[in-house]
């Protein structure tokens, strides 16, 4: 089965990103295809490389980046939601005159159409949120 996963909340505050990660990992281990993971609302905050979680806790952002690298996952951050919350890549920094970027490896910023496309192209959409 081909899956699109939607994540609506940021790291640590809600379990949504944890649940989505464990679900995605389990689906990949079972041989399913993950078409895309789409980060919306505060979910865009999963894509900042500036976090430094405590040593004895999981690193949510790094975990997504590693999973993306291992499985060539498409981790998409919604641009409109990212602009409101301050998640920035090189292109966004230039367009909006920002003096820094914070996007984590393996994530890319794109439009809401990527979520719609996920709904069209995938067999299932699974949403994790608050």
């Amino acid at each position: 089965m081909k899956l699109t996963i939607q994540v609506n909340e940021g790291p640590y505050q809600h379990q949504a990103s944890d649940s989505a990660y464990h679900f995605t990992k389990a689906a990949l281990e079972k041989g399913h295809e993950v078409f895309r993971v789409f980060f919306y609302h505060d979910g865009v905050n999963n894509g900042t490389r500036l976090t430094t979680p405590p040593q004895d806790d999981r690193n949510i952002v790094a975990r997504w980046s590693e999973l993306a690298e291992q499985h060539d996952l498409d981790l998409v951050i919604c641009v409109a939601a990212a602009q409101r919350r301050g998640i920035v890549d090189d292109g966004e920094a230039e367009r909006n005159g920002k003096d820094a970027t914070n996007i984590a490896p393996g994530f890319r910023i794109s439009g809401l159409g990527q979520l719609i496309e996920g709904g069209i192209q995938s067999d299932r959409l699974v949403v994790f949120g608050d």
């Binding site: 609302h41 409109a80 709904g119 069209i120």
Partner: protein, 134 residues
């Protein structure tokens, strides 16, 4: 690829959280993809359609006029759950009157809102291909 039936489920009140507004942004963008789109307003989601919203005192963008533009985006199936409305002391008169123009019927103006019971809406859900949740 065949057209899919998309259902956007709205269960949250506006302004207290951003979900209502960012969900509407998805619907507007999604309209360009020419799928078979429906919206459902359940639980506090029915509050999104309240008439007379004035956000000047909280300095937030009043996005409620956007719902009346949905008809122009060919989003014409808007389900409002009856039980949710009644529990909150509301009737359809408290909500915006949403319409669309039917080009197959000499552009006659038709109601977009369909007041349905919980059981009826469950049946509508059963007929969908993809449920969007925010």
């Amino acid at each position: 690829m065949a057209t899919k039936k998309f259902m956007y489920v709205n269960r949250r009140a506006p302004y207290g959280t951003i979900y209502a507004w960012e969900a509407l942004e998805v619907v507007l963008i999604g309209a360009a993809f020419e799928q078979d789109v429906s919206l459902a307003f359940v639980d506090d989601g029915v509050f999104q359609l309240m008439k007379g919203q004035d956000t000047s005192g909280i300095d937030m963008k009043n996005f409620s006029p956007t719902y009346s533009a949905l008809g122009d985006y060919e989003v014409t199936k808007i389900y409002v759950e009856k039980e949710s409305l009644e529990e909150r002391g509301l009737t359809l008169d408290d909500l915006q009157h949403l319409v669309w123009e039917d080009e197959d019927d000499d552009w006659a103006e038709k109601d977009s809102i369909r007041l349905v019971s919980r059981a009826e809406l469950a049946e509508v859900f059963a007929g969908q291909d993809v449920m969007f949740n925010f």
